[in-house]
């Protein structure tokens, strides 16, 4: 077999393998553009992108039409003598001016859309989104629903992530609580973060705003239709960056009013009497729940952590040592590390519960019990 034939055969084989692989994938449904817009701004962005694609496609066809004409017709193998021209001021001016005009053509609609996108004035409801490693916290600051606050955590079970259970429909894009907003109202989102930079990104609403620790940024959206819109943190924020989704539920005004009433009732019911004295079993039970929601990503379910970055709690000197040191770290965090100041995120009762849980789980058998009023004292 000649060398050429050998290579040709190998190429054929490679091509066949690719074909087989591709045909296996051919049944799937492919999305080739942005998600379906759910705000007017998102629709404008969508149209802008389509418009840009037409312009780019047109330029591509013209420029490479010329190039490939050359490639097929100006070949040495057809016995041509090459031309010798190497400049033309007219042509060079022309192909500087024409692209400039095309850019101006693009710049106008883009500027209009940008100004509309960035206008967050006259909003009906203001919500603050706070990025934590690795969950979002929401505070309804102004408008209907003022005072509502909650955390929003990934609700996809660990088993699905580790492939020991079949993955659900909204794998990684589901949370325990949703940001609920009324349709047609202008929502102003304030973003900030507690630890590192995150980004609040919901594609269908055309909103992506970095959440920067120590600063507050804003963005806004006015949903034009009801529905559930899913997004994710878009700025690398450490280990579980892939696991802090965002779910926005756009509902009718009536449903929103009902949701607000329901939330306020729930918050009142959930508010613990800060002076209640708890018994060990009930504290352990509550502590486990708090631990699984807030601590498990780093310190792990077995309390062994992921040393050296995320230390073990099982057998740790802090978690089995004097209460004061332990509570200090839980409430105020450890600066310069990933250990957040949970005092800002959790209630006294939750903090007391989780401290109790940590002191009395796995191999830790301190046996003591932290009461909410001790947390209150630590906060001072």
């Amino acid at each position: 077999m000649t060398k050429q034939a050998k290579w040709a055969n190998m190429l054929r084989l490679a091509g066949l393998l690719v074909l087989v692989a591709v045909s296996g994938l051919a049944q799937a449904e492919y999305k080739l553009n942005f998600q379906e817009p759910a705000t007017k701004v998102a629709q404008n962005v969508y149209d802008l992108h389509v418009w840009m694609m037409y312009i780019c496609g047109f330029i591509f066809v013209v420029v490479f039409g010329v190039m490939f004409y050359s490639v097929f017709n100006h070949r040495k193998s057809s016995g041509r003598t090459p031309a010798t021209f190497h400049e033309s001021t007219t042509v060079e001016i022309l192909w500087t001016v024409v692209p400039t005009l095309i850019l101006l053509l693009m710049a106008w609609p883009v500027t209009v859309t940008l100004l509309e996108m960035r206008d967050s004035s006259n909003s009906d409801i203001t919500i603050k989104a706070t990025g934590y490693q690795w969950k979002w916290g929401y505070d309804y600051l102004k408008g209907e629903g003022e005072g509502i606050k909650f955390m929003s955590v990934l609700s996809t079970p660990k088993e699905q992530i580790h492939n020991s259970a079949p993955k659900g429909e909204h794998y990684l894009l589901e949370t325990d609580t949703h940001v609920v907003v009324p349709v047609g109202k202008k929502i102003r989102m304030l973003t900030t973060a507690n630890d590192v930079i995150h980004a609040w990104f919901v594609p269908a609403l055309a909103i992506k705003q970095d959440a920067i620790p120590g600063f507050i940024r804003d963005a806004s959206f006015r949903p034009s239709r009801e529905g559930v819109f899913r997004g994710q943190c878009a700025e690398l924020c450490g280990k579980d960056h892939a696991y802090m989704p965002i779910v926005v539920e756009v509902v009718s005004q009536e449903k929103y009013t009902a949701w607000v009433a329901d939330q306020q009732k729930k918050m009142a019911a959930a508010a613990d009497d800060p002076n209640k004295v708890w018994a060990l079993p009930e504290m352990l039970k509550r502590g486990e729940a708090v631990y699984l929601q807030n601590c498990v990503a780093c310190h792990q379910a077995n309390g062994k952590g992921l040393p050296p970055v995320f230390p073990a709690l099982d057998g740790s000197k802090i978690a089995t040592g004097p209460k004061a040191g332990h509570l200090e770290i839980i409430v105020n965090g450890k600066p310069g590390t990933a250990m957040a100041a949970f005092g800002k995120q959790l209630s006294d009762t939750d903090l007391a519960a989780v401290a109790t849980y940590e002191r009395n789980s796995w191999g830790n058998k301190v046996g003591d019990l932290v009461q909410p009023n001790e947390i209150k004292a630590t906060r001072k």
Partner: protein, 531 residues
């Protein structure tokens, strides 16, 4: 001609010089631009392999949703090191390698201006690369904040891995700066009599401009990572709001380096492509003067657009508008370059040897990367795309189909001059077509992933992204394996093969083709005169 008079040296090579050390010591102590060029090229190819294996590990994890082979923290380390190693270990040294080999031969100089500095510039690289690779195995692992090293994540990360990375970046920066000083001095002072700047081939021209960019911005990067170092260990608060700093400051400083950096990577590639297109079209380069001015304009504009990487950080709308318009301006000189290349081919006598194929692939795919860059420049559209796979697709079109394709074009174009043998043309073409197909299979579909909203730098993704990720992963493995064809071709070309004439490409222009193939160890000991 003096060129052929030097030819006798070629067969005896360096063995001629009895006093020169041999074996390992030869390579450690060499001040010869060809030896150092060879070292750079092999080093960068090795780094290309290391960075490539990391890329394949990333793609393997992304073949399916769920976590299979990498835990998230390892995944983040892989993406970070892949980026750092490819940018600083593979692409930049590749072009410094070409510069070392070719600039003296192209401008009629005996060697680079500073031989010992040249040696040190290279030998700084292996320790830096070692620091990066070793950081994978220290407690806490390697840096895991992305190659952009955004604070405060970099300040927060525990373990010595991040510090090793910071020192590696310092060393790599020193190496680049010294290499650039050498290149600028060589070009400005050692050109053959009669070779005015405006008679210089495009490759040295683009490198002259690139070298200035490097000297201007590498210290900025060094400053940025030093601030991270002091925030980590010495109690400063450059990036901590609680201490009066600002996390976004890091991004401004980083991208003030980072945007010129992407032109540092691509400009020498432009030079290569200009020369290759001209050679295989058998026609002088169209608009040489405007090519030089376009390159310089791109370089200057690159200093004024950095914050288009930061549209979503919450800058004022006036800032967004300014950076958007400034970024759009870059399309004009870049367009001029593409038009000039096409006009060079127009009514030429074209043939399609491997360097020309890679040059054509470069022009088409780099232009696609340019289009997606223009789309990303539009602030409201970018808000949808920033930090998604669209950006990943975009910069791989300009980094891989741009810089890497031009590096392949350069390697095939000059291999006969370096080795004195012709490479296997069929194998070269197979390498090109495999690379082209698998490249697009890997990266074209990532545009769609980005449009659909898949964030970058995630080890696990929602189910609707599965199919495109699978195509991309299959493409990536095909792409990686195809590069072994190149390696094999280069090795067989070094070892033997048909003898190459002094000027294997009949349309090629330039002083390097007046030298015999392989080029003698010391070339242009008597400078040629250019008319």
């Amino acid at each position: 001609m003096e060129a052929t008079a030097q030819g006798h040296d070629a067969t005896h090579g360096h063995g001629h010089h009895g006093h020169a050390p041999s074996g390992l010591m030869r390579w450690l102590t060499t001040t010869n631009h060809k030896d150092i060029g060879t070292l750079y090229l092999w080093f960068s190819f090795a780094m290309f392999m290391v960075g490539g294996v990391m890329a394949l590990t990333i793609r393997a994890e992304l073949f399916q949703p769920g976590l299979q082979i990498l835990e998230p923290e390892r995944f983040n380390q892989m993406t970070t090191l892949h980026g750092l190693i490819m940018v600083f270990g593979a692409i930049m040294p590749t072009f410094v390698g070409f510069a070392n080999w070719m600039i003296p031969m192209q401008i009629g100089a005996k060697d680079m201006a500073f031989g010992r500095l040249n040696n040190w510039s290279f030998w700084l690289l292996p320790p830096a690369a070692t620091l990066l690779v070793v950081s994978l195995f220290v407690p806490g692992g390697a840096a895991a904040a992305g190659w952009t090293l955004y604070a405060p994540l970099t300040v927060q990360q525990q373990g010595v891995g991040m510090d090793l990375t910071i020192f590696a970046v310092h060393i790599l920066g020193m190496s680049s700066i010294m290499g650039s000083i050498n290149i600028i001095t060589t070009i400005l002072n050692l050109r053959a009599p009669g070779m005015t700047l405006m008679k210089m081939p495009m490759f040295p021209w683009t490198w002259l401009i690139t070298a200035y960019l490097i000297i201007a911005v590498m210290p900025v990067l060094a400053g940025a990572v030093t601030m991270i170092l002091t925030d980590r260990h010495f109690g400063t608060s450059f990036f901590n709001a609680a201490g009066g700093g600002d996390p976004v400051l890091f991004q401004h400083v980083f991208w003030f380096f980072g945007h010129p950096e992407v032109y540092i990577i691509i400009l020498p590639g432009f030079g290569v492509i200009s020369q290759v297109i001209q050679a295989f079209s058998r026609k002088p380069l169209f608009g040489y003067t405007s090519m030089v001015y376009a390159t310089a304009s791109i370089a200057i504009l690159s200093f004024f657009v950095w914050a288009h990487h930061m549209y979503t950080t919450g800058m004022p709308v006036s800032g967004q508008l300014y950076f958007m318009y400034a970024t759009m301006l870059i399309a004009i000189p870049t367009g001029v370059k593409v038009f000039n290349w096409v006009a060079t081919m127009w009514r030429g006598a074209l043939s399609f040897e491997t360097p020309m194929l890679f040059a054509l692939g470069f022009i088409v795919l780099f232009t696609l990367g340019g289009f997606s860059g223009l789309v990303l420049a539009m602030t409201p559209v970018d808000v949808q795309m920033q930090d998604t796979y669209y950006v990943v697709a975009h910069f791989h079109y300009v980094m891989v189909a741009g810089a890497l394709f031009s590096a392949f074009a350069a390697a095939y174009y000059w291999l006969p001059k370096w080795t004195g043998h012709m490479y296997d043309e069929t194998m070269g073409k197979v390498h090109f077509w495999l690379t082209l197909v698998f490249f697009n299979m890997t990266f074209f579909v990532q545009h769609f992933l980005g449009l659909a909203g898949m964030p970058r730098r995630i080890p696990d993704y929602a189910l609707q992204f599965t199919e495109f990720n699978q195509i991309s992963t299959i493409g990536a493995f095909g792409f990686g394996l195809s590069q072994l064809v190149f390696l094999y071709n280069v090795i067989t070309c070094i070892r033997g093969g048909p003898k190459a004439p002094a000027k294997p490409w009949d349309g090629a222009e330039g002083l390097e083709w007046d030298l015999p193939s392989p080029a003698p160890y010391h070339s242009w000991e008597t400078q040629p005169t250019v008319k």
